[in-house]
Symmetry: D2
Subunit: 456 residues, 4 copies
Amino acid sequence: MAIHEECGVFGVYNPAGDCARTTYYGLYALQHRGQEACGIAAVNDRELSSHKDLGLVGDVFTEETLDALNGTMAVGHVRYATTGAGRRENAQPLTLKYVKGTLAVAHNGNLVNTQALRTQFEYRGGIFQTDTDSEIISYAIAQERLRCHSAEEALSRAMKHLRGAYSLVVMSPRKLIAARDPWGFRPLCMGRRGDAVMFASESCALDAVGAKYERELEPGEIVIVEDGTVKSLRENCQDATSNLCVFEYIYFARPDSEIAGQSVHEARVKAGALLAREHPVKADLVIGVPDSGLDAAMGYAAESGIAYGEGLVKNRYIGRTFITPDQRSRENAVRIKLGPLRSQVEGKRVIMVDDSIVRGTTSRQIVSLLREAGATQVHLRVSAPPFISPCYFGTDIPDKKNLIACHHSLEEIQEMIGADSLGFLSVKALSGMIPNAQCGVCDGCFTEQYPIEILK
Amino acid sequence: MAIHEECGVFGVYNPAGDCARTTYYGLYALQHRGQEACGIAAVNDRELSSHKDLGLVGDVFTEETLDALNGTMAVGHVRYATTGAGRRENAQPLTLKYVKGTLAVAHNGNLVNTQALRTQFEYRGGIFQTDTDSEIISYAIAQERLRCHSAEEALSRAMKHLRGAYSLVVMSPRKLIAARDPWGFRPLCMGRRGDAVMFASESCALDAVGAKYERELEPGEIVIVEDGTVKSLRENCQDATSNLCVFEYIYFARPDSEIAGQSVHEARVKAGALLAREHPVKADLVIGVPDSGLDAAMGYAAESGIAYGEGLVKNRYIGRTFITPDQRSRENAVRIKLGPLRSQVEGKRVIMVDDSIVRGTTSRQIVSLLREAGATQVHLRVSAPPFISPCYFGTDIPDKKNLIACHHSLEEIQEMIGADSLGFLSVKALSGMIPNAQCGVCDGCFTEQYPIEILK
Amino acid sequence: MAIHEECGVFGVYNPAGDCARTTYYGLYALQHRGQEACGIAAVNDRELSSHKDLGLVGDVFTEETLDALNGTMAVGHVRYATTGAGRRENAQPLTLKYVKGTLAVAHNGNLVNTQALRTQFEYRGGIFQTDTDSEIISYAIAQERLRCHSAEEALSRAMKHLRGAYSLVVMSPRKLIAARDPWGFRPLCMGRRGDAVMFASESCALDAVGAKYERELEPGEIVIVEDGTVKSLRENCQDATSNLCVFEYIYFARPDSEIAGQSVHEARVKAGALLAREHPVKADLVIGVPDSGLDAAMGYAAESGIAYGEGLVKNRYIGRTFITPDQRSRENAVRIKLGPLRSQVEGKRVIMVDDSIVRGTTSRQIVSLLREAGATQVHLRVSAPPFISPCYFGTDIPDKKNLIACHHSLEEIQEMIGADSLGFLSVKALSGMIPNAQCGVCDGCFTEQYPIEILK
Amino acid sequence: MAIHEECGVFGVYNPAGDCARTTYYGLYALQHRGQEACGIAAVNDRELSSHKDLGLVGDVFTEETLDALNGTMAVGHVRYATTGAGRRENAQPLTLKYVKGTLAVAHNGNLVNTQALRTQFEYRGGIFQTDTDSEIISYAIAQERLRCHSAEEALSRAMKHLRGAYSLVVMSPRKLIAARDPWGFRPLCMGRRGDAVMFASESCALDAVGAKYERELEPGEIVIVEDGTVKSLRENCQDATSNLCVFEYIYFARPDSEIAGQSVHEARVKAGALLAREHPVKADLVIGVPDSGLDAAMGYAAESGIAYGEGLVKNRYIGRTFITPDQRSRENAVRIKLGPLRSQVEGKRVIMVDDSIVRGTTSRQIVSLLREAGATQVHLRVSAPPFISPCYFGTDIPDKKNLIACHHSLEEIQEMIGADSLGFLSVKALSGMIPNAQCGVCDGCFTEQYPIEILK
């Protein structure tokens, strides 16, 4: 699986202090949303300080850096970069000085009118030092702040100009502010632990720090925490719609997160069950491609009545510095990452469940691995529809030219992958997958129909 | 789970070269056996060179260091240190010069007559620069080499003096030699890929590099590879017995490894099934503590007919530099490492399967996490007998004073952990767990009866 | 000596390419002007890329980073930070996107109207991400660029608003632009090597890369290099005066640099000679405090007829990570940094020449070191006048409260230092020190009279 | 100048503790003797611990590592490796366990019967893990210790077998022992500070920590410090001769050191004076190649009556990671390292004094630099005789094939270097250079006559 989320955000207000440390653990829980860079900004006694760098949360922060950031409010960010080698300048939160003091801005999502906004600010003499939307958003806030009376009001006015996906956590020396775009693309939830108020991209981060999940922010909502008082601004909620990225349920979010009332784990199990109904096949064993295919495999097994088992063991130690085998060597990356459970698959007809196919290369290698281990048949079932279009709202689903399903029929794909049969979940099954979700979804990558018109 | 294996070894002869790279991938597959230090020694054109350091395989080696080590034979080692902060001097393979040239020695296990041997060598004027048994073994070989005609003969003679656990891979400029102690404590297997011959602590490392598993070495056997010819010395096999560490099946080995004809995954599933028979209980859901409890949980579920599910999600990013929450903070290490799947466990009677209990602290926290998530009952089932005695043969099972089962009855432990019921696998079930294993086992940590008398 | 220059800049245009590498060597030659951070931005085929970080030039750049920056234009910067631990964000050159594309800005000096300019830009909605004047200057250029037709014109207009010291090297994808403030505080010179045109804070950087020194930029001058054509803008030269920081001659600049026609080495030798005339004393030996006091000591010796010799040897290996001896230890930092040449000073009346006294602590320790080594008398001669006022133009001469000469008479200082006599160079001798300099000087730190009125 | 010393040693006994820190500063003062690796071993309460690594003293040690080593005795080592990339294993002090406990061994010098000793120990079953003579020496001590009653006696007996250069500092849990080979090749001195006793390769290290120089160890002498009592063993002094490496005076030692009663600085000044007598020439200016040629240049100037001046400024920031200009670039390493003082040399006949010529390449580039800077003549004077033979006793003077003077006449060398004249100090002048030295010298690199017969 090669699709990445672009970011995760976390924010905490706690009059008892220690907020940088809480954010550190919150970011640990969100690390799956971005492994390239991370950062924390904290406010202590009205003074903002920050630390950020390329690397994982566990590598970027030490006891010393956390102690230095101690404070009563903090915001944090984990980042995945879609293009090229990550530039350190793009690590977030962005910290800045503007007409009313200092701000820290952490952003998950992707704007679609970046270029227009940037040009507009440049024509007022603005300069840009990063490639991030956070900088655009910061300018928008700073410009509006000249014409209104508070940071939240400035943010509210700025949001009218921002088109696209953004879940934001913003911090001034006095306020912690969270906001979600009016289309509701990316998740953002709120929780509490005693007097502390927290915001996080996913509820798993609240669990990690012992906070109680309270609710998702509404599309378009702004929540302000100031001196322990929480209030909401809903000016931008009026024309809001609800279009949560359905791929959060399928792959991005952690299974122990709940988004808009829907358990992510259950959504995946359900996807597997629906897949079994749509694409049944006679077989002896259902296995998942670890880790993300396991839940759907369990659902497929339960629905089909075919035994569930483990067929592949994932090497837990493959890290960022893994040296991929090159052409000349007979080693093979998939073999190093996944070990087949010969005793399980030998002599069996195996249904292998994965959550998506992008280029098909990895699937082909796994199918081959299973056959070598003795599987007599390998049926590939995919717990999502085929990708036919890129994502403009914060994930790195690639261009059409790199999407196998844009150029090949189901039969061709099956042949390329070497599977005995192949089935994708249907688009119409997606809503059945998330029966408890109190939201609509964006499924543009499967349908080419987006909530916002894309100008190319 | 806090028990660690002390080491993993790998060796390869390949006339086509590229052996350091193959060893690198082999060690990646064995990383679970030791994360403190690692190293590779390679022979190229009769010249031995090596690279080793503290750290994970992926961090210690770069393209450059691997290229510099390129050769037609290589041995590698991953190390876990039981005592104090790891000293760099103890990283292996040990490379040395002796009367007949150079040797590289990689060792998995633990000798029980270390002190006596060391004293004996010191009384001949020897000096010791590390704390490793590898150095003792090297001396033993070097001393015997004065009196015989080949390295393998020297090793064979030396083995008569070595008491304890050792699976060795030794390399001279001309030969790759593997050996296993006559008690057969630690696994060591052999495989081939074309003209290449390989040795590894576990078969998963052979799979990772595309080699075909051939067999385990016999207890006491020495296998020599020289210029592509493989031969065996079985002088030390005569009085050999077979005492494979049973905990390799229960916890240490990777589930996709096969040891002595027995799939590790199947052993764990079977342990779960036996556990269900020995300790049945009415419940709604069986879950495993990830990752090592999952297999047994599946076995328990299948045997008991109770539904299997996931109840805990493991954070995949907790690394060596993770800053553990301290006393003052309200964060909690277990919560950060494991997220409960509320939607799964809520309102249910849960059977939680783990592979062992050492001090009981972690189990107590997990039980509490599940209750918070809504489990109405939590029944703890352990797929191994209680630890009542330490290990002297290469794992860090602690002293009696740190083993909860040495000081508390089953009822006390259950209460301390806060479980609704508690059941351990019986000692007598251990043999049923591994029906296909062509070996005997050492279960001294559960029975206090060891294959070698321990002088304290 | 504890006074630091704040920065050095370098720029090169070379149609033959390899400009990042040339800049690397140029920055090496300017490293004495700033050791905290450094950076290089290069333009290759109209594309700008950059690399910068905390650390010395030799540590920040590798073959790989230099190769990645290869181009036909480059600008570089070395930085010394006056306040707190250096923030990585402040490393330069600043690279930015503005209305007309990209710019890289490297700056040496200090503005005195920073706050006013920043406020003005903030009231237009600007945001600030660093603490550097480079960001202020960039805004000023970006704002003016909206109203004129070229980057150089924008810079020229911006310069009318900038008050203070600035020697700039600015690069757009098409142009390399150098500029000097109309007061002429900081040096900036130009040179050529074949078709290549270069700018550098000091001529020693031109020598280092084999370029021929051509001239200083005039105060207020802007020089533009575009496609090999060099032209000058002198709009801001009309009201320009000439106030080169005299401390560049006394201490900052490298002795092998020439500034405004005056050799720095000769200025220092001359300062020593003038000091000998103003403060003669009977003695046996003249020594300098290495390295910066050596030239003046030679001048003092030659003028006085007293023998010149070495009396102190400097440890060449004291680096950034040197652990300073703490209170409890009997070690002593001066002793570790300077070794006395007992055979030279024993039994002699010694004249010790240093270039300045800030707090007097180090001088006291050196005097004591020389007495221990057997000097019968130690006469301290300082080749600069006493500091009585801070610098606002780019050096870290401290506040009055930290300047010994602000609070103590000559006699008191002599006694505190423990010297047998003490003499400072007079202010009026400063002009005699630099007979060949084709410029006026700023001597505000010695006279409290600055070329620009300082609003406190 | 490309000749390197191989090591420096330091040892301290201080009942008041803090010995690792004192050793740290002592090693800082000896850093010029080896920049590849360093280490400190300390004894605290009879327990030995150590820290060592590749790198400079300032990089290898931190406050934490020093605090962890705190003790009442310590030995330290700085290392320069002559062959290949430095192996970490070779860093010293070597710490080892042997029959009587633990030892730390630090060694400066080079044995000439290494191979014979190693073979002998190997034939007793010994193994070797490093390439250092320290390991050989340790074996020799360990073997003798079996037959006698104390470590010092064992060392004394071992010394009868060691042929070559060795200045040693050895530490057991109870004793600090220093020893010098019976030929007296490498310096080793002793000093005191209150109750503390110290040993160092050079007296500058004693000065650095405020200790008073007491004396050199005699050739063959062993000094033992135990519980504050100092005693000498002189068994090996009977047949001892005195052959201090004359190149210590010419180049290796720090000018502020005194060796055997002779100031190193004065020796160099005197060498310059003798050079002036042997090779006078009409000229306007005498300059030294910094740093090591400066002292001799002063001596040449004083003796000849020609003005002394600075002609070349050395870049103080060229470090280990300096990227040397490659073929394709027009930059030039000498130019980056040395800046010419144009104002000094322009239009002048210059005498340039350097301390040695190995291949002649650097000299040629410097001569050319001076001519470019306007020197009308450049006369090269070398304050040492031509190298005609390698060193076997602890420096890296290369093989004959790399020594220009082995293959070319004086006239040829002069022409290759491009000097107007060339003069070397004569061998017979060497003794005149060190009138105060209470020792004989080894000048084998200039005469091919060594104190010990070299078997090739």
